[in-house]
Amino acid sequence: MRFALDAGQREFARSLDAMLTAADTLAVTRAWGAGDHAPGRAVWQRLADAGVFALAVPQEYEGLGPLPAETAVAFVELGRHAVAGPAVETVAAAALLSRLAALGETASAERFLPALASGGTSATLTLPDGGPYAVDPHVADIVLAVDEAGLRLAPGHARVRRSLDPARRLAAPLPGGEPLAKGPSVTEAARHATRWAALATAAQSLGVGLALLDRTVAHVRQRTQFGAPIGSFQAVKHRLADVLVALEFARPLVFGAALTMAPGDVAAAKVATSDAAYGAARAALQLHGAIGYTAEFDLALWLTRARVLRSAYGGPGLWRGRVVTAWE
């Protein structure tokens, strides 16, 4: 039993952190939201080169995985750096196709997985109970949709909608398109993909919450009101202490879920990280005051993302239900 990141995992996190810091991801994310995807694609390729997308792809399809713990490590960093784009969706698509392959349906895996792992292809998707919209389908290279009829490659997407998160667009996949698989194996693969989507979202939320706390701690140490740094006021201290408690107890749930991939553990991680990140966002906004409320201040990138990740792939109610009632 050694429930701590090992040296390789820590180094992986450090190198992603350094790469994303150097890439100025905040500016890249703002550009992505403004419709300039080129810098974001460049970051995407660097993430792929670092192996991020290969972690969800089995070795027989030119991946490194499946390695859920390392995936969680990576998505914490993506959250901390507010990286834009359908990264969770690409990982979930990889999980979906991998599980289909394990169930004997190898064609789509052979066709798509190597490019997903290498970064050559980005994917987005819709999953049962995950809502009608796919993330960034106007940028993703492939749009997958799972519904009663099975899995299909959607021929495009409906009108692109803006999200509270300025770097995020949503649209429903268009009906029709090329059928890829059907039957019970799709159902099972979709459940598997939902677990991966939830895990990656949970890890990302944790990273978002940590970034919000970091920025807020820095702010309250230097912001002076009534002649003292506001971080010396007990109300401020206690609010941030509660944020830290929530994040630090959500963290082991994320990595525990990655190790077991048990449905209840994944659900617990999704719920706890959603609540912790959203609590961090509410505290961050309150303690920043008006400056935090503006779109141009970088904090907004994490504030809005904490909110939207809460309902991504189903809201807290759905996932709390999955903690106490069986789901596969």
Partner: protein, 413 residues
């Protein structure tokens, strides 16, 4: 003890309802944060004013109906229930006008109020500065004495309506320091530089079109323009636009922020209308089995009703000649947190639709029919998030409640 209205009050409410039914635009106006929307909202103010509905509680000579508090509250309830447009004149009517009634000259009232009532002049508030949020005593913008008036310098921030408004009002640090006024130099290091940082402030009105004024719009969290920064470079303000005694601005402003934090800013009407919309949407599209969400909808309804009844109790106390002091801090904490919780519930009810900022209305906007388009909820949510911050953060309100209402000892915060 009763909750009954007089025949005259009921008639007033019915008259308001009838007028609103006949005049409220069928389609929502464009956002008042756009130039076209601002103009449309200004036109709506003119329409209201034409029948004396824009400032019902003012004396008739300034364009009002001389309505008392009860009537004003009834009007507000009808106004929000009718889904009428947002009030672009809100800052002027709720913040500046009460100050002019208390501290302005007759000439100022005659000059300012009628044009405010008609929307001919729209006012922005210019309270805050980058380094002075809730701590107004640390203001740095200055008013320098010059012949026949004052020259403004510095920067104001988070000015709502400033992007398109005509004029603004705010506090400035008087320069040079005059001992007689108890003024002190500005606190350049962010901390108050003198034992009397509240002294020596000038409360004045100025034109946003004047030479030396630069306005930079700033977007709120969802990117919508919401307020602006105002840069002031030797902006001349004539003496006639100073309110009250120069140097006494702090005291004068406190009576205004008293209004801002008190009854007048947040009438129950909006919360009642919002809770009603939420309950209707829940009945229309909520899962009746989902008691977790149902309980939160119930809390929204309970909170709105509590706020309404609390307000009637306050109105009754005022009518009996009592005054409201620190109680307004209870008010502020309650409505601001109620408002956020209500909108969070609505977003959770909307699920995947809840994060969409475009469209609204129609099938792809989340529908909802009479309950309004989905984006109204996200818009309201973002708006609500500011409520616990402005007009004195809720942290400061809780300090006030503890010290002034509960009598707990002052401590360093």
């Amino acid at each position: 003890m009763d909750l009954d209205f007089t025949a005259e009050e009921r008639a007033f409410g019915q008259r308001a309802r009838a007028w609103l039914a006949a005049h409220v635009p069928a389609a929502p106006l464009p956002s008042l944060e756009t130039e076209a929307g601002f103009a449309a909202h200004r036109e709506w103010e003119r329409e209201l004013a034409a029948d004396r509905w824009s400032a019902v509680s003012w004396p008739e000579e300034y364009g009002g109906q001389g309505a008392g508090l009860v009537k004003w509250l009834l009007f507000e309830e009808e106004y929000h229930a009718a889904g009428a447009p947002g009030r672009v004149s809100q800052n002027g009517i709720s913040l500046l006008a009460p100050t002019l009634f208390d501290h302005g000259t007759a000439e100022q009232r005659a000059r300012v109020l009628p044009a405010m009532a008609t929307g001919e002049v729209i006012w922005a508030q210019a309270w805050s500065e980058p380094e002075a949020g809730s701590d107004l005593a640390s203001l740095r913008s200055t008013a320098r004495r010059t012949a026949g008036g004052w020259l403004l310098g510095g920067q104001k921030a988070w000015s709502s309506r400033a992007a398109f408004a005509d004029r603004a009002f705010g506090l400035f640090r008087r320069e040079p320091y005059e001992a007689g006024a108890g003024a002190s130099g500005p606190g350049r290091d962010g901390a108050p530089a003198s034992p009397e940082p509240h002294q020596g402030l000038v409360y004045l009105m100025f034109s946003l079109r004047a030479d030396g004024v630069t306005v930079r719009p700033v977007g709120r969290l969802d990117g919508r323009p919401a307020f602006a920064e105002i840069f002031l470079d030797d902006v001349f303000v004539p003496d006639e636009d100073v309110i009250g005694e120069p140097g006494q601005g702090w005291r004068i402003a406190m009576s205004t922020t008293g209004n801002e934090r008190g009854l007048t800013l947040r009438s129950p009407g909006r919360f009642l209308a919002t809770a009603d919309r939420l309950a209707r949407r829940w009945r229309a599209q909520g899962d009746p089995q989902d008691t977790a969400l149902r309980d939160r909808v119930a809390d929204a309804v309970i909170g709105a009703r509590a706020y309404e009844l609390f307000t009637w109790a306050s109105a009754s106390r005022l009518a009996a000649g009592e005054t409201l002091g620190a109680e307004s801090s209870l008010n502020k904490v309650f409505w601001s947190e109620h408002d956020i919780a209500t909108h969070e519930t609505a977003l959770d009810l909307l699920g995947a639709e809840g994060e969409l900022t475009d469209g609204g209305g129609g099938a792809d906007g989340g529908g909802g029919g009479a309950a309004g388009p989905a984006y109204d909820w996200l818009d309201g949510y973002v708006f609500s998030l500011a409520g616990t911050i402005y007009a004195g953060t809720n942290e400061i309100q809780r300090d006030i409640i503890a010290e002034r209402l509960l009598g707990l000892p002052k401590g360093r915060r």
